[in-house]
């Protein structure tokens, strides 16, 4: 693993471009890698993230599929078991519901059930996130489900840099990995080295250092946390923003260390709050930093409602910088 120091002059590209670059580099490196999914070839997915790949790698390696999420996931499991490294593109995270048997009962368990003889090096690529006015069946953030299942790894990149590095690690991993990309982040720009680098799974990243409060956030919520940190600074509250980057494996140590340092913690994730990612993060931190915490960990997940269509309602369902600021002020006794 190599995580180079980013030179001042490193070029900026979008999150979407970083994903594409990682895929292209890995496909050049390893002929066993292929992509399969709905409208991934000429269309390059509805979000255009994969545009250009079919032109370079051809239709045998960038495969437009029927609308058969279970079928293509199952096919990928079999191909992975026999020497390939498939990337299955599931257009919206909500559609993993259709492939859960193949993901959780097959991909996740083959290695263990075979006593370590067979392996399933595949990546399921999908999306998360609301506020696109896409309503209840195109807006969910279901990372809690897959994070719950032993045998799966789960990555949630929050910046272009992390997207490229986590993607390359995912493709080289010998296990099934599910990567969630925030649909609203594809245009986000950030520095991404052209060279080769990978980000090991299970290493959280301190996205911003701070002293007074820790905000642990995943994916889309990292940007919200960073905005909140900006708003908190002038109030004299120095917020540390920690991004686990992978929920499985989880870098509990970095989370706990930050919590011990600041004594106050907010955990954020765009999935439903109830029985969601924030529950595990809160429980792990409460356990590891029990004697250091001034107050209970504050959880900020999505509201426990199907995502409503109407913008005036939808915007109420996800944590915003303002709501983080309120929670932080309460935790810091500023009200």
């Amino acid at each position: 693993m190599s995580e180079p120091v980013i030179a001042a002059a490193v070029r900026e590209i979008t999150f979407g471009q970083a994903v594409r670059e990682a895929l292209a580099e890995e496909m050049r490196r390893d002929p066993a890698v292929f992509i399969i999914g709905e409208d991934v070839a000429e269309a390059g997915t509805p979000f255009k993230v994969l545009s250009g790949l079919v032109e370079e790698f051809g239709r045998d390696r960038v495969i437009d599929s029927p609308i058969s999420e279970a079928g293509i996931t199952g096919l990928a499991v079999g191909a992975a078991m026999t020497g390939m490294r498939p990337v299955v593109d599931i257009m919206f995270g909500d559609f993993i519901t259709l492939a859960m048997d193949q993901i959780a009962n097959q991909a996740a368990k083959v290695h263990y059930m075979s006593g370590g003889k067979l392996k399933v090096p595949m990546v399921v690529r999908t999306t998360l996130g609301a506020t696109r006015r896409s309503a209840a069946q195109h807006s969910q953030s279901l990372q809690a489900w897959v994070s719950h299942v032993p045998g799966l790894k789960v990555a949630l990149p929050s910046t272009p840099y992390d997207a490229k590095g986590l993607w390359k690690t995912a493709i080289r991993d010998d296990n099934p990995v599910v990567i969630f990309e925030d649909k609203l982040m594809y245009q986000l720009k950030g520095p991404v080295p052209e060279g080769e680098y990978t980000i090991p799974f299970g290493t959280a990243d301190v996205k911003r250092e701070g002293r007074d409060i820790t905000i642990v956030a995943t994916s889309s919520m990292v940007q919200v946390a960073l905005q909140a940190a900006d708003l908190l600074a002038p109030l004299g509250i120095s917020a540390e923003v920690v991004d686990p980057r992978t929920t499985a494996p989880l870098d509990a140590r970095t989370l706990v260390e930050s919590a011990r340092k600041t004594s106050r913690v907010i955990v954020m994730d765009e999935g439903y709050q109830r029985y969601g990612i924030t529950a595990e993060l809160a429980a792990v931190i409460a356990e590891g930093a029990f004697h250091y915490l001034d107050a209970p960990v504050t959880r900020l997940g999505a509201m426990d409602v199907p995502v409503p269509f109407s913008p005036v309602l939808e915007d109420l369902t996800v944590p915003t910088p303002d709501r983080v600021v309120e929670a932080a002020k309460t935790l810091c006794g500023r009200r």
Partner: protein
């Protein structure tokens, strides 16, 4: 069929056409949140089928569902309101374009999961049968839906238990941006037939053909003769959704032009009505005036309507 019935079908198809044109306009003028999948070009399918139904029959619909909803009798004002996320919308603004439902007219809802409502329609048919009614259920889906395994699971159930459900497959040639021949092996009609389901292919641009086939299927189902499958060959004139403007990478302008010029369901019907001397052009104009007035008023209503109260956000999660 009477002259009035044909004119009624014309009016319904035109309502859909004009409604969708306004939706497109709402999108391009940034007045509508999110996206919408327009039904323009496919009007004869929804109208031909729904005219063969009773008001208390059920339908289930898809992401491309405005046409089905209107054809089943929904009013344009509450539909526009829903698309704009307004309180008087059919779902109080909570569903939006992809989830419009209209319970009073048996529309059990659009569905944003491809083939996601095939089970629902089949279950509604089971309920109708168990309750001793002679209602039928129609399940609309695009040809992309044949990629989903659940369709085969429920066709098997419908055939086994002789359920009054009609699967209406609208083959508009594209699964989003991919031609269906690249995603669909073998013979589409053989798929339902393998389960012992009565299946017919029909020209989906000809509302008379659709209506005739649908009427046959509905009559069978009402008589207790079980499920049917209609493969309606059709075409969407515009993009997969309102934002799909540059389509050259997956289909030619020429193809689009040909369909619009030669296979427009509105023209096909009016041409026939005129040829048969059943209606004169002035009558179409009169219908169009009415339709446009209704839709303009509906849109006004929706634009002026209030957004839902913020307190609505966590209501209706549980009944």
């Amino acid at each position: 069929m009477s002259r009035e019935q044909w004119l009624q079908m014309y009016a319904q198809m035109l309502r859909i056409r004009v409604f969708e044109e306004h939706v497109n306009e709402l999108y391009t003028s940034a007045k509508m949140p999110g996206l919408a999948h327009l039904y323009i070009g496919q009007e004869a399918v929804a109208v031909g089928v729904c005219q063969a139904l009773r008001s208390d029959d059920y339908i289930t619909s898809t992401h491309r569902g405005h046409g089905h909803c209107l054809a089943k009798g929904a009013s344009v004002d509450r539909m526009f309101a829903e698309l704009l996320g307004k309180a008087p919308g059919y779902c109080g603004g909570k569903g939006g374009s992809m989830h419009i439902a209209d319970q009073e007219r048996g529309n059990l809802g659009a569905n944003a999961i491809v083939a996601g409502s095939t089970g629902i329609a089949t279950g509604a048919a089971l309920a109708a049968k168990r309750q001793g009614s002679d209602r039928v259920a129609v399940c609309f889906f695009g040809e992309g839906g044949v990629g989903q395994g659940i369709l085969y699971e429920v066709m098997n159930l419908a055939a086994l238990w002789t359920l009054p459900v009609i699967y209406v497959c609208e083959n508009n040639l594209y699964n989003e941006y991919t031609h269906y021949t690249e995603t669909t092996a073998g013979d589409l009609l053989l798929r339902p037939r393998a389960f012992g389901i009565f299946a017919e292919e029909v020209d989906g641009q000809d509302v008379r053909a659709v209506h005739a086939a649908a009427s046959r299927a509905v009559a069978r189902a009402r008589r207790g003769e079980g499920p049917a499958f209609l493969l309606c060959q059709t075409y969407r004139f515009l993009g997969h959704h309102v934002g799909d403007i540059s389509r050259a990478y997956y289909r030619t302008k020429d193809e689009e032009q040909r369909y619009k010029a030669e296979r427009d369901p509105l023209h096909i019907l009016t041409r026939w009505l005129v040829a048969e001397r059943l209606a004169a052009p002035e009558e179409f104009a009169r219908v169009e005036q009415q339709v446009r007035a209704e839709i303009a008023a509906g849109l006004q209503f929706a634009l002026a309507a209030p957004y839902p109260d913020p307190g609505e956000v966590d209501r209706d999660v549980y009944a």
